[in-house]
Subunit: 409 residues, 2 copies
């Protein structure tokens, strides 16, 4: 019977739209940064909806919310579904919210049908995923997953010096439960892709098998400052010329490497004058690949190009300021998602997450997988973020089927 | 007799060093920006030295100073020598000052020898050449040469809103003489090269035959902002990648084109985040060549590269914010400098000015040529700017011989 069960598309969509009024902006976006009054109101609405279904809502010391729908054997660990309700200051209606409210819709559908799974089901709202008001991103799921400590969390402040815990108290969401104490049998996160791959391929559901290995770097190239008018080309040590050659080599390698991501997001020259060959050029190098071994090849391509410039007389330094290992989600959870997609009959493909998500941390302490649905043009973190009710429905149906499968196993 | 006449190296050097105390900084540089009290003190010292030689010192309405050493026939137009006494805020001891004080040393040498030329000789200090406190550069020689108008000059202000004329009054250098009224038979400007060519070639004196054609541009490339982690390489419209290809094509052309100068001095991306493929990249394009026709080829190379990127979907716009035509100095003045170099027996070469100088404007209204001497490492606009007493002497001897030749013709 549960295999034929489907979510209510219209109810899911109208809940998404009703929730989107909280922090909604004139341009159709959402400004509901973590631990603001809007975040508090968004949490209150979600909790009220859960309580309407008879769910118990618990809150831990960092405001992570756990709304539990009892199973037939509550001695077993829950199967969890969730994501986050906070947004970027100029965010959209679906990033994060979809995963939480789809979890709610799963429970509503079960509740309507009078179905209880063997294991309980828990919907999670992780606190401060976006990292816009408080750095780091994926903050409270990070503490839950032993990536950060409670001591670190005590020190988190926004730009105005307001502490994370202080702000949590202010909105009434500092709970008693120690962070990380509550364990789960499995965790499933539905999220919009935040990229163009599903849409371009006409695919409704992505089975997310892991997350990319990443390396974030600052690179500086030091040449020799000189006058643009008086210095012949062959007497220059121009860091922009060196940069051009290094970037060209890296783009060539990345373009030829399946699933590679190579991004130079920031470039700055010193001095920044049209008539002066710069002394120095700084740039960022953001490298990602599902396989750590291929990421290492990309880095080696950069290093070989940098060495060629060093031989010409440039001083080049690379500082890695962030890195993330290759992540593979739990085989049992991935299989549950695969089977759910098959049960629902949706066109699907397997892919690897290119963005950070709570699931990327939670997988360290709990069996985890993710489900992606398309978003228009791959756009997110933007008021123009857009999905269709059918896409939301498909994601929620896969979440329903996968969660029920895991909870009844 | 005049052909054997030489300047006094030690006197020239000690005048340079004495003058360098005014605005001298702890690092050996000079901070004597236009129309500051230091500029006033530098002018006073120069005027006092001129009056010691019985010269008449006139000042025009923009503070240009004209110190005249009478000739044997004062009904004839003067032969002028000069440059500027103002410096960059972190400038050196020789940029500009050398040309003025070498003119003074020429007159001192003639005065010592009891020689009068047929035409009078005039030493000029042009006001506000550097363009650091007041924009534009070569300001008062520009008005003298009909490049700018007095109306424009009335509007010039520094960053604090102090007017050019107001500052001129403040230091007591607003004269009565209308700017441009005083005419000259010829104008010679000795200046440090501000580039590495003479030094690298072991050459003591450069015969400057003209100035490069120049084109200064702001270019913007608009691509499509996207997430660095989720956007495959082949779905990107990355303005940094387009920039890299355009820059590579331009460098290749410039490196293969004799006497070309191609400089990208400023690059900026929007947004400037390591994890976002930028929406937009802006850069400056500074192109120079002695021949306008070859400059046009360099621009065409850029445009062809930009067109290839437009075909890929990028929006690219180039705005030329400054340009200067190919300039050829006066044949009679160049010949006088050539002959002077030969008379002195110095190793010399002919070259074209890559930097802006007062002479580049004055040549529009008066027969003009320039003389370059080496500077260490090609460095200027820097406290490390350095020349030797022998280099200063050589430049001043060529100035002496060329001026006397013109003034006796």
């Amino acid at each position: 019977m549960e295999q034929a069960l489907r979510v209510n598309k219209d109810r899911l969509w109208s809940s998404l739209m009703e929730h989107a009024r909280i922090g909604g902006t004139a341009d159709g976006g959402i400004n509901r940064e973590a631990l603001t009054p809007e975040d508090g109101a968004g949490r209150d609405l979600f909790a009220a909806w859960c309580r309407d279904l008879g769910m118990e809502v618990a809150v831990d010391a960092l405001g992570n919310m756990f709304a539990t729908y009892a199973g037939t054997d509550d001695s077993l660990l829950s199967v969890a579904m969730g994501s986050h309700l906070d947004t970027q200051p100029c965010g959209g209606k679906f990033d994060g919210v979809l995963g939480v409210l789809a979890g709610l819709e799963v429970v509503r559908a079960l509740h309507d049908a009078g179905i209880r799974t063997k294991r309980p089901l828990t919907i999670i709202n992780w606190t401060s995923e976006e990292g816009s008001r408080f750095v780091p991103s994926m903050a409270a799921s990070g503490v839950y997953s032993d990536i950060f400590t409670m001591d670190e969390a005590q020190g988190w402040q926004d730009r105005e010096g307001i502490g994370f815990i202080e702000a949590l108290r202010e909105i009434g969401y500092e709970g008693d439960e120690p962070v990380g104490q509550r364990k789960f049998d499995a965790y499933l996160e539905l999220h919009i892709e935040q990229g163009p791959v599903l849409e371009r391929n006409g695919i409704l559901v992505g089975v997310v098998t892991g997350a990319q290995a990443m390396s974030f770097n600052n690179v500086s190239i030091i040449g020799r400052e000189a006058h643009a008018g008086t210095t012949p080309m062959n007497m220059r040590l121009d860091p922009v010329a060196a940069f051009t050659r290094i970037a060209a080599a890296c783009y060539e390698k990345a373009d030829a490497t399946e699933d590679a991501r190579f991004t130079i997001g920031l470039i700055e020259t010193t001095p920044a004058s049209h008539s002066t060959i710069p002394h120095r050029l700084n740039f960022t190098l953001d490298l990602r690949h599902p396989k750590a071994s291929v990421l290492a090849e990309l880095i080696a391509t950069y290093e070989a190009a940098a060495d060629r410039e060093r031989a010409r007389g440039y001083q080049i330094a690379r500082e890695e300021f962030g890195a993330s290992p290759e992540l593979v989600f739990d085989a049992r959870c991935i299989d549950a998602v695969r089977q759910a997609v098959r049960d629902c009959g949706y066109p699907s493909m397997e892919l690897v997450s290119g963005a950070g998500h709570d699931a990327v941390y939670v997988t360290h302490v709990c069996p985890t997988a993710m489900i992606f649905t398309p978003c228009k043009g791959g756009v997110s973190h933007n008021p123009a973020e857009s999905i269709t009710p059918e896409e939301a429905e498909a994601g929620a149906n896969v979440l329903l089927q996968a969660a029920v499968r895991l909870a009844n196993a």
